[in-house]
């Protein structure tokens, strides 16, 4: 009984705190953490104008992992990772609850095929993709068990940027980013930027249209 009363007291106390702060904040402009579409475009379609990738269609588990990586500074802290640096402070403010809310919100968006913007040799890219397929799947559909996200359907310019970032050690450099480190090593098999463009051109052929 004493325990219950104690708990009731605590609850009453917490309630009064939250109401006070709510009252104080009532005069101020409210906000939430649903900022995603400002950068990532309407319905999370991605926005080339600010180099923010497509979120619609992204797997829940991958989204959570990346948001947590950004939040912890595992991603988006290398000074040359221009886009990652823009994302990192946003993610740093997120709570577990707001991450869950965002993931649920992202899940409500309909996937629309991304515009093709990258030119490359898809036939050569297909050969290069053989090394990628082991983790990302034959159709670039992703593989949760291996922690590899789907690539098909992502904005091609974003894939190019990220592959180049992996190759240059701008992404995957953090010791706690084991998947990123793996990807950093694998990206070397592409050789150079033309290899990147070729493989991305091939991935473009795999996306639903």
């Amino acid at each position: 009984m004493k325990q219950i009363l104690g708990n009731l007291f605590t609850i009453g106390f917490l309630l009064s705190i939250s109401l006070t702060s709510a009252a104080a904040e009532n005069e101020r402009e409210p906000f939430d953490d649903r900022y995603c579409t400002t950068c990532h475009g309407a319905d999370g379609r991605g926005n080339e104008g600010v180099q923010a990738p497509r979120l619609a269609g992204m797997e829940d588990w991958y989204l959570v992992r990346q948001l947590e990586n950004f939040r912890a500074g595992i991603r988006g802290t290398h000074p040359k990772d221009i886009e990652g640096i823009a994302m990192q402070p946003m993610a740093a403010k997120l709570t577990d609850e707001s991450i869950a809310d965002i993931v649920q919100w992202v899940g409500s968006w309909t996937y629309i095929p991304a515009e093709i913007t990258v030119e490359g040799d898809a036939a050569r890219g297909q050969q290069l993709y053989a090394a990628c397929a082991a983790c990302h799947g034959q159709q670039a559909e992703g593989n949760e068990a291996l922690g590899a996200p789907a690539l098909a359907g992502q904005n091609d310019w974003y894939l190019v940027t990220q592959l180049k970032n992996f190759m240059a050690d701008y992404r995957g450099h953090h010791p706690d980013d084991s998947f990123g480190q793996q990807m950093r090593t694998m990206s070397r098999t592409l050789g150079d930027e033309s290899g990147v463009r070729n493989v991305v051109s091939y991935i473009n052929t795999l996306a639903e249209r």
Binding site: T38, C39, G41, A42, V50, P89
Partner: protein, 526 residues
């Protein structure tokens, strides 16, 4: 005869270095000047019973100009504003206001007093921006003088005089003196003097002497213009020690110092009494009921018969059907919104780069600059914070709001920092001007336009090469984007001008689009 410069050649040389660009304007100066700042006079066709619906995307200055004007002529306007406030980069920050930077939300904690505000975006109105001034007059927006250049403010560079700040007047007086001495020497050379008649040469030399306050032997030996070391009222003034020319050349700030008072930032500059957003409220007094807030556009589909807009508000997707659409959403955000624009139009949208300008401000616990004879104006520093602005308003009140940093060119240096790092950078930069700065200021705010929610950028940048100006391709892209899609969808805002970052440009882009619309409507109704 080689080496002798003829009079004609000399004048041609003058023309080539500065005269040609100025020539067309000289015509205006010679009697073609239109009348004073008359209210913007758009002569649109009144619609009468011919109802037309207009969707305005974005409640910035250009969007509100369209809403205000078209409402006068019988159009049914709806403004969709993505954020909680109208005005875009016309943003006056006061007590309690939300600064909605993505990843760095701030609430302003300035004292709640009318003069304690900060114009975080547009801050200056030149007297030649007559369309803007016309609206200020029409909307009853009270104006006051804005002090841009202040001769008692400081100039500071760690490479000049051991980093000790000097007064703007010391820098400019001595620099002009030394420059005048050089010019006077050049004028005494036969060859250079040759193109001028005796009377012209005399006039020019007299002007040069006066410009630099030269002594009778055409040397610069210091000047009382920079004030007195002592005396000057009840006793004769004692001249200050001169600063050596070489020392002044240790800083590159002179480039800005000698031009800060020219062009768009030349006198007379003005600001609305109480904050730049008085202009926005002036428009909202008339069309405020037309604005839907927190209404974020998701899709713009243009057809031959109109424009269909989808937007999200309160978690619900709405549809708005309109006959015409005026869109001041920044192009770099419009790229990420569903649309059916033609590919050359999209190419132009994607070409425009977003600006990176950055500002910061502090509340000053007391108006310490007034104790240094500074009333308004700008101090210049050769460090990343670049400038400190002292408020032109609230003179002799207890407190004031100072601008603690303004990076108008780059801005990413501070944008990439955490809030704590930004503030520390401005405090330590400002200490170079005011040794006790750190203790004199409080309640900082920072505005990184590149990360502001629903804007993600400062003024649009069309030209990729600042020095060489616009390329032919850039001109073509610009003119493509200015043309409406199907005669239905117009992009407006200062982004749709060749002089972005000014309110006048936003208004004129809106007026251009409305005049174009008017022609089409007249043709339809004829």
């Amino acid at each position: 005869m080689a080496g002798v410069v003829t009079r004609r050649e000399f004048l041609n040389l003058l023309g080539a270095t500065g005269g040609t660009a100025a020539a067309p304007k000289a015509g205006t100066a010679l009697g073609l000047l239109p009348g004073g700042a008359a209210a913007a006079s758009l002569d649109l066709l009144g619609l009468g019973s011919n109802q037309r619906k207009v969707a305005i995307l974005g409640g910035g200055l250009s969007g509100l100009t369209v809403a205000y004007e078209l409402a006068k002529y019988g159009y049914d306007c709806t403004v969709l504003e993505a954020s909680h406030r109208c005005g875009g980069r016309i943003f006056t920050v006061r007590h309690g206001d939300l600064i909605d930077e993505i990843g760095n939300r701030q609430y302003c904690e300035f004292d709640d007093e009318p003069h304690m505000y900060f114009n975080a975006g547009a801050a200056r109105i030149p007297s030649t921006h007559r369309n803007l001034l016309g609206y200020c007059k029409e909307l009853g927006v009270e104006l006051e003088v804005f002090i841009n250049e202040n001769k008692t403010s400081y100039v500071q560079d760690k490479d000049m005089l051991g980093g000790k700040p000097i007064r703007n007047i010391d820098y400019t007086t001595h620099m002009k003196g030394f420059m005048a001495e050089l010019m006077a020497k050049a004028l005494s050379h036969e060859e250079l003097n040759a193109p001028f008649s005796e009377s012209e040469a005399e006039t020019l030399l007299g002007m040069v002497r006066s410009f630099g306050d030269l002594s009778e032997d055409d040397l610069y030996k210091g000047s009382f213009r920079s004030g007195y070391a002592s005396g000057g009222f009840l006793k004769h003034g004692v001249q200050k020690d001169m600063i050596a020319f070489r020392d002044l050349l240790k800083t590159r700030l002179g480039r800005q110092l000698l031009s800060a008072n020219e062009g768009d930032t030349g006198p007379m500059l003005m600001q609305p009494t109480g904050g730049m957003d008085r202009i926005i409220h002036g428009f909202l007094n008339h069309v405020g009921d037309r604005v839907k807030y927190r209404a974020m556009v998701a899709s713009v589909q243009v057809s031959d018969s109109g424009v269909e807009i989808a937007y999200d508000q309160d978690g619900v997707r709405h549809t708005l059907q309109a006959d015409y659409c005026f869109n001041c959403i920044p192009t770099h955000l419009m790229v990420g919104i569903d649309h059916n624009f033609p590919s050359d139009y999209v190419k132009a949208m994607k070409y425009v780069r977003r600006g990176e300008a950055y500002k910061a401000a502090f509340q000053a616990k007391r108006r310490f600059w007034e104790e240094d004879d500074i009333y308004g104006g700008i101090s210049w520093m050769a460090n990343p914070s670049r400038q400190v602005w002292y408020p032109s308003h609230g003179i002799h009140k207890e407190k004031g709001v100072v601008l603690g940093a303004y990076d108008y060119g780059g801005g990413m240096y501070h944008t990439m920092m955490t809030q704590e790092q930004r503030i520390e950078a401005h405090l330590s930069d400002g200490e170079n001007l005011h040794p006790d700065y750190r203790n004199l200021v409080e309640k900082p705010i920072t505005i990184a336009w590149h990360r502001m929610n629903h804007m993600l950028g400062c003024s649009a940048r069309w030209s990729r090469n600042f020095r060489q100006g616009w390329t032919h391709e850039e001109e073509e892209l610009y003119h493509r984007l200015q043309q409406p899609v199907n005669g239905r969808h117009y992009i407006i805002g200062d982004q749709m001008s060749m002089h972005s970052a000014w309110q006048e440009s936003a208004i004129m882009s809106a007026q251009w689009a409305m005049a174009d619309l008017d022609q089409r409507v007249r043709a339809e109704l004829a």
